[in-house]
Symmetry: D2
Subunit: 167 residues, 4 copies
C-alpha cells in the first residue's frame, strides 16, 4: 500500500448484490456502510495489546466507552479512487486512528485489496465521545487514549480535496 | 437558515423505518442516500430558467450530459449537526452548486427543515464529468456551465473540519 | 384495480435511486421495504373512524398496542407482477387487513399506481401481537379488533402460489 | 437441522450494523437480502458435480442461463422463527431446490447457525426462466434441469402459513 498507515487493523467485507447500483458498481454511499462495519468491528474486538492502564486485554473499546457514553459520528470525508465491482471474494477495509484530541478522535480508512495493491476509496471519520445524560462531549480517559494511540497511523492524504479558498 | 445559499432547489425526502438504526436515529450513512436522491432529482428535472444557449427549458442536466458521458462522484464531505428522528412528514434536502471548474463541479447540501429553521447535516460532493469511452474527464459544455452557474450558491462552511496540519 | 379491497388506506412511496438494482428495476427485496413503510404509516396514523370502544379518534394503532406489547412480523408472502422502474413520482402501497384472529392478523398489500391501473406486486404479512415481558402472544383487545375490522378487505388472490402437494 | 434438505449449499453472511433496526434485531426485510446473496452466490459458483450433459464443471448456472435469458424472481414466502441479533460471526444461509417445472423452479432456504442448531427463518422463492427479447418464459434446458435436480432437497415445511380458506 502506498500510504504509511499500519495495515494491522483490517476487516474483510462481503460485497452484496444489493450494494451494486444501476451503473453496475458498488454505489458510492455503500462505501460508508463498509466503513461503518469496520468501525463497529474494531470497537467490539478485544483490545489485546492496545489495552493500557485501566483496561484488560479482553476489554473492547466499546467496553471502555461504557453505557453512559457513546461515540458520535461528527463528520465523514471520503474520496473514490477506483470503481469497485461485485465479486464473491471480500474487499478489505483498513482502519486506523489519524489523530486523538481531548474528547474527539479521527479514524482513517482505506477500502482496498487485502495486500493494498489497489485502493478503491479512502476516508476519515471525525468521532466525538459524548455523555448520554448531558448530551455533551466528555474527555477521553487514559485507557481510551492509550488504545487509540496504539491504533494510530498516518493522516489520510486526500487527492481530490478542493484547495482552500482565500478568505 | 443561517447560510447564504439559495433555497430554491429543495427536495422533500420521506424518512423510511429502515433508515433508523439501533440508536433510534436516522443512521449517518443514510444521509448520503438523501443527498444522492436530491442529486438525482435535480439532474432529472427540467432546466427551466437554468437553460442557457444550446439547451431547451425542458431539457434536464442529465440530457445535457448525454449518453456518452457521466457525472462521477469523486468525493463527499459531510458533517452532522443534529440527530434526525423518524417522523411521517418529510425532511428536506437543499442542493446547490458551490463551484464550477473546467470538468468538475461541487454540490453543496443542507438536510434541514423546509424553512431552514433546523439543519441536521451539511455536505458537499465533488463531481467530475467523465467520458465513458475514454474513462477520462471531459470539459463541461457552455450549456452545462450555464446551468450549474444558475444553481450556484455559497460555499458550505463546515464547522467540524479538522484544522490543516503544518507541513 | 381488479381486486376487491378497499382503496382507502393508500400511502405514497418515493422511489430512491438506491432502490434500483443492477438490472435497472426496483429490486425485489426493496418492495418489502415499501410494505414496511406502509405498515408503519398505517400504525402511526390516527384511527379516526376506525376507533371503537376504548379508543379515541386521535389514538393510533401503535397507541393501542402500548409499550408492553409489540406487533411481530411472523411471515411475508409476496408476488411480483410487473417490473417497477425509477421515476420521480411516487408509487402507492395499498394496505388493508385480510383476516383477524385471537392474537394474530394479516395485512394485505398492493404496490400499484394510485388509481390501481397497474399492480406491480401484491403481498401479505402475518402479524402476531406479542407481550414483551413474556415474549408470548397475547389476545387482541376489543379496540384493536375493532380497528383491524374497520380496515378489512378481501384476501389477496395470489396467482403464482405453488399448488399444494398431495400428502 | 430438523429439515431433510441437503446442507451442502451453505453460504456465510456477514451481519452488518445497518441490518439492525430500531428494535435491535436484524430487520425482517434484511433476511430477504441474505436470501438474495445466497442465490447470487449459488448461481455464480462452478457447477462442479452438478454439471450434466451440455455443461462443464467450471460452468456456473449463470453461464447456463446465458446472456439472452434471465431468472426472474416471481414470488417469495418467508417465515421468521427466531430473532437474529448483531454479532461479529456470520450467520449461514442454506439454499436448495424444492421443485423444478418446465420453465420454473423454486429455491428453499434456511437462515440458520452453521450446524443447523438454530433456524432464524425459512423461505422459498419462485423463479421463472425468461427470455429477454420476448419477455416470456422459456423452457429449462437439460443441463439446467440437471443442475437444479442435483441441488434438490425437501420442500420447506412452513409452520405459520395460514390455512386455505374454503371456497
Amino acid at each position: 500500500m502506498d500510504s504509511k498507515h499500519q495495515a494491522g487493523l483490517q476487516f474483510p467485507v462481503q460485497i452484496r448484490f444489493d450494494d451494486i447500483d444501476s451503473y453496475g458498481h458498488v454505489n458510492n454511499v455503500t462505501f460508508l456502510t463498509y466503513l461503518q462495519d469496520a468501525r463497529v468491528q474494531l470497537i467490539h474486538r478485544s483490545l489485546g495489546s492496545a489495552a493500557g492502564a485501566g483496561a484488560a486485554e479482553e476489554d473492547t473499546f466499546h467496553d471502555l466507552v461504557g453505557k453512559d457514553n457513546f461515540a458520535l459520528v461528527g463528520r465523514h470525508e471520503i474520496e473514490y479512487l477506483q470503481p469497485l465491482n461485485f465479486r464473491p471474494v471480500p474487499v478489505y477495509v483498513n482502519i486506523w486512528v489519524t489523530s486523538v484530541g481531548k474528547s474527539s478522535f479521527e479514524f482513517g480508512y482505506a477500502v482496498a485489496e487485502q495486500d493494498g495493491a489497489k485502493i478503491y476509496a479512502q476516508a476519515t471519520s471525525g468521532m466525538v465521545l459524548m455523555n448520554k445524560a448531558t448530551d455533551k462531549p466528555i474527555e477521553l480517559t487514559q485507557a481510551q487514549h492509550h488504545a487509540l494511540q496504539e491504533w494510530s497511523g498516518a493522516p489520510v492524504e486526500f487527492r481530490r480535496r478542493p484547495k482552500p479558498r482565500n478568505a
